[in-house]
Symmetry: C2
Subunit: 404 residues, 2 copies
Amino acid sequence: MSGFVRKVSGGITAPQGFRAAGIACGIKRTADPDLALIVSEAPAAAVGMFTRNRAVAAPVVWTRKILPTPALRAVIVNSGNANACTGVTGLQDAEAMAAHTADHLSVRKREVAVASTGVIGAPLPMEALLPAIPRLIKGLSRSGGTRAARAILTTDTRTKIRAVETTLRGKRVRIGGIAKGSGMIHPNMATMLAFVTTDAAVEPVFLKDALKEAVEQSFNRITVDGETSTNDMVLILANGLSGVRLGARELRSSGFQTGLNQVCQEMAFDIVRDGEGATKFVTVRVVGGKNENHCLIVARRIAQSSLVKTALFGEDANWGRIMAAAGVAGIPLQPERLDIYFDKVQLVKQGAARGVREEHQASRVLKKKHITITVDLHQGSAAAEIYTTDLSLDYVRINADYRS
Amino acid sequence: MSGFVRKVSGGITAPQGFRAAGIACGIKRTADPDLALIVSEAPAAAVGMFTRNRAVAAPVVWTRKILPTPALRAVIVNSGNANACTGVTGLQDAEAMAAHTADHLSVRKREVAVASTGVIGAPLPMEALLPAIPRLIKGLSRSGGTRAARAILTTDTRTKIRAVETTLRGKRVRIGGIAKGSGMIHPNMATMLAFVTTDAAVEPVFLKDALKEAVEQSFNRITVDGETSTNDMVLILANGLSGVRLGARELRSSGFQTGLNQVCQEMAFDIVRDGEGATKFVTVRVVGGKNENHCLIVARRIAQSSLVKTALFGEDANWGRIMAAAGVAGIPLQPERLDIYFDKVQLVKQGAARGVREEHQASRVLKKKHITITVDLHQGSAAAEIYTTDLSLDYVRINADYRS
């Protein structure tokens, strides 16, 4: 029953029975949209994965409390204000967002998840937010996924919208997602917001396993600046309206997991591409490791090195910085055995430079927008990839000026 | 016998019996000095601390092999080329630097330490370096400390020269130092070059303890960009020419350890002040911790956060980023108990913003060149400090262009 996975349009409103909306309610000083809503016609199984930051924002506290659940009805999301480090008032505000939305939708408070993203430490302007909820609900539509995708953005320069469909037992099953993120992007949980919908029917316990696998392969493999936010959250809602019920075994063998992985990975790549000030999409591939975890550790250390990232911005094939970053990753390695490639150009063989010709070839590779750095540890046969960006002048500009 | 510690001039040539020189031999494309030599008239006890990077440069391999020793005579240092990731040739080149210097000084090869700093991965231009050694030796003088200090610089914008003296048993004892470093500066060993001389007589085993303590309080408390180089090295030479011999007990109780700590801390601060592109000197002070290590972990995480550092560059009192960085440090903490201060302005009380007036006051603090961020964990009575810089546009410019 392994189904072929096709891309479709529509994002979170591509699956049956989901409506969405996005409006500007005045949280942002600009007139940009800052309030989004996703509603499922039928109660949806829902699970989430959350930030590992110990400073957890109020909406994360609320949503973690109500999930997992077999019956979520809505997700309300605001941007422009993270409702983080806002104390007891922040917790009350997050709960009030859920309560007001629930009232107007005639569902229960515990059936509404809440997410926020934006500036930390400022109280949420409830006087702007709450009165806008009826208008937000009026705006709900089957084509509202795009507007919702826009309303969850902060420093992002573009929306992240993905959807796929597959056929299971002769029926069409869809998976859609929207995401937000361009800085504070780092492995170990989401480190951004992502909302995934599907019209498959999946028990929360199996849904959690499926989400974990997808997140591990996608959001946990990207890094922009090594930061982990207080607000990170990935939610998935499964409302079953396709009529296809999936148990643990079918999840593995069907196209569902493949499709979910694909939606999450495409959103993760969208986030890297939109990394604050990024001029390059960089795949750091570590091969020849003893195990996958070793490869991930080395790849992450390289992907997080400010010196490697500024060299990439400067289009300088500075492999010495890659070597130095690998050397401090914390796993045993023999630098004199390392090979380093920029795309297919081998710059370093057994820990030493190959020559001037290869340097020139590598310089040409570095002018490209997409670059793969491959490091061969020559210790075994494991491999892993991390996806990142360069560190540009605009990264500093954006983050020096974000609040002012 | 606890002696009063006074600052003196002269750096590494302030203590008796040390001569130094610095010349340009053509390793750097510019005409800047790039070769330095420190010589002791009498055999000096010498110990070192070295990079923890597993990719270890050739000069580190050599110098680690010959230390500790009761009888070092010279240290030769080049800048402009790190002789790192240069394979077998690199090791031969480092040894040849020691051998040639030893020949011309009529000492043994194993009595000459070697250090290098600069670009990684390029072969050392021995054809320029070796013939320059006689001229370097001719330049040796009792006032050559400043020239040596200049010749070990790379992206540094100024020399780091410090010296103190104290009186022990009625005799004058001096400690001098020169250092190099402005990027790749990060705790866990030196992460830069520093050479310390003293005319006290100290057995290598005690000298090692004294150096460890000094480094722990200085170079291991600073961070510029979270990078650890392949070449980091701190050496100390004690030639005994003051006529004062210090055992383990006297080291503790006398002004010697105080003086050594001071020289190392001042050089460490010089390095932070000269951090690549830095516009601020930032002390991150964490108090109220369960133990010092917890405080250090939190302080380092804050000091290494790109988001905190860009906010400081933007003079934005963005305490939310400080909270978020503390939250991912990896130690248990209660964000709702945290207090945060910019200098004496308390911005955050029990995890929440205090108000607009404090924001304004903090904004004024941020216009200063020296800022202390204090975070009170309210878990105990331990405290620790880490010293760092902001992350500026110039950091990116310098590191994007370093080789080109």
